[in-house]
Amino acid sequence: MSSPELELGLDTFGYITIDESGQPLPPDVVIRNYVEEAVLADSVGIDSFNIGEHYRPDFMDSAAHVMLAAIAGRTKRIRLGTAVTVLSTQDPVRVYTNFATLDAVSNGRAQLVVGRGSLTESFPLFGFDLADYEELFEEKLDLFTRLLREQPVTWSGKFRSPLVNQYVTPALPAGHLPTWVGVGGSPQSVVRAARYGLPLMLAVIGGPPGRFAPLVELYKRALDAFGHPPLPIGMHSHGYVARTDQEAVDIQWPYWKETFEKAALERGWARPTMARFQAERAEGSLYIGSPETVATKIAAMMRLLGLSRFDLAYATGRMPHKQRLATIDLYGREVIPRVRELLADHQVPSISSSHASVGVTAQPHA
């Protein structure tokens, strides 16, 4: 992990999936299936497997670190991370202990994306007020980066008890637990990631990815203004790979429709249509098609935005395990090698992502 390698990963929210008769599987079966999917991902050469954090009946990712530890025990190479850890409503000390321990059991393969998340059920669940979310995230990111970079930590804040000359174990080897900041398009969040000297992960779930180019420029300019070196930039988007474009559309469409119908009702979004689905495939943020179609699009967007990391949020919705395994197999064996080939001359920031989070001095209030 010492060269400026491209990272091509998978992200999941642990959707409850259905069996072949259309019935939802029990949660424990679903969770074990995700462990199997990660094991396959490792065996076909995928760089990372990253799990979200939600507390909802349709998502089984409420304790990513436990699933990742199980995966660690059955894999050798794949990096194990989150997408995203809702740091605003967690205790940074606990996040540190969980993931520093994961890093140990996985022999240095743990990573994090921290953010606010776009769903907010964790706020009432853990007794936080959503109105405080900016302040919560700022304070918790401040404490978390200190735990990563400068133990023992002396710290005080508004939302938890102070720490005085505190060591939190296990200590991390230098450069371990790369921590990215996930953002959805807010310029203030981009500047914050730069201020803390943390790599940037763009969550792009709709619309043309090229519109993020100005935010990428803002991030670079802000890093420079805060005195940090260039840092990696990644992107998370939804997709599905099958043998042909048509097969990928046929398999993914009903589950995408179902998922976004639900979101439209809950969140006031526009209802999904086949026209929008196809427009998102063609010009937007869906990576759905044959290995060549998906690889070409990933490579084009990585080149356009200067990305060194791409996470495919694979197989949106309740799609059965068997079809999820099929897409992981194609992504690892065909899409990733093709993306690497297409980007063979691609210049990415000359820095190791595994050193990015801790290799610079924190200047959170500069």
Partner: protein
């Protein structure tokens, strides 16, 4: 950049986030003299404005009010009550905000506003000439979707307000920004432009938007 000698081409945008900076880019392209403010000192948003809306000036909200008579309010909805009631006295105030429980938290007044959230905004700023607009089309369409007046396939935006002269000014703003402008009627009609409304988040032509706003008239 215009010197600001044409008062109707001076625009203020309160809010330097995703929406505010995107509207600022479109307004600069349309020839407006744009001032933009965040919360607090102008230096806090200077880099954001320099990179995301070059040509706009980062100012304090007080300076912004002195700069323009046409002001877009594009802060997260849970923040508008931090602004004083009389801040926008006599100004045309375009309410481009949307209430999102997942961002703003549970706000019973906004969640249940029977005539839409812009009525709550007007009640907070009673001396402002509030118009609801620029809120119902996906924000990045301000970049990707703007077209010169008369272009085929132009996207439409609606404006709703009780001060008819203010609505007329906002319709002109919409057209200059690159979109067909549709008068949606009184401020209460803005309810239909909010999340969960049939016009929200979808790009429609002026005819389609009018048909959604006035179904009886279009079927007659």
């Amino acid at each position: 950049m215009p010197s600001g000698e044409t008062p109707e081409l001076r625009l203020g945008i309160v809010g330097a986030g995703r929406v505010g900076t995107t509207i600022a880019r479109a307004a600069i392209a349309a020839g407006y003299d744009v001032a933009i403010s965040g919360s607090g000192a102008a230096e806090r948003i200077a880099l954001i404005i320099e990179v995301l809306a070059p040509g706009a000036r980062a100012v304090t909200t007080d300076e912004l009010v002195r700069h323009a008579d046409l002001i877009v309010l594009a802060v997260p909805m849970h923040r508008f009550r931090n602004l004083p009631h009389d801040l926008f006295a006599g100004k045309i105030l375009v309410d481009a905000m949307n209430y999102w429980e997942e961002i703003d938290g549970v706000d019973p007044e906004l969640a249940t506003a029977p005539a839409g959230t812009s009525v709550v905004v007007r009640d907070w700023f009673p001396s402002a000439r509030v118009v609801k607009s620029l809120n119902h089309v996906t924000y990045y369409k301000f970049d990707a979707g703007r077209r010169p007046h008369g272009s085929p396939g132009r996207i439409a935006m609606a404006a709703a307000g009780d001060d008819r002269a203010a609505v007329a000014a906002v319709l002109q703003l919409i057209d200059r920004l690159g979109f067909d402008a549709v008068d949606a009627g009184p401020l209460e009609a803005g309810l239909a432009l909010e999340p969960n409304g049939s016009m929200f988040g979808v790009s429609y032509s002026a005819d389609e938007l009018s048909a959604l706003l006035w179904p009886a008239a279009s079927s007659a």
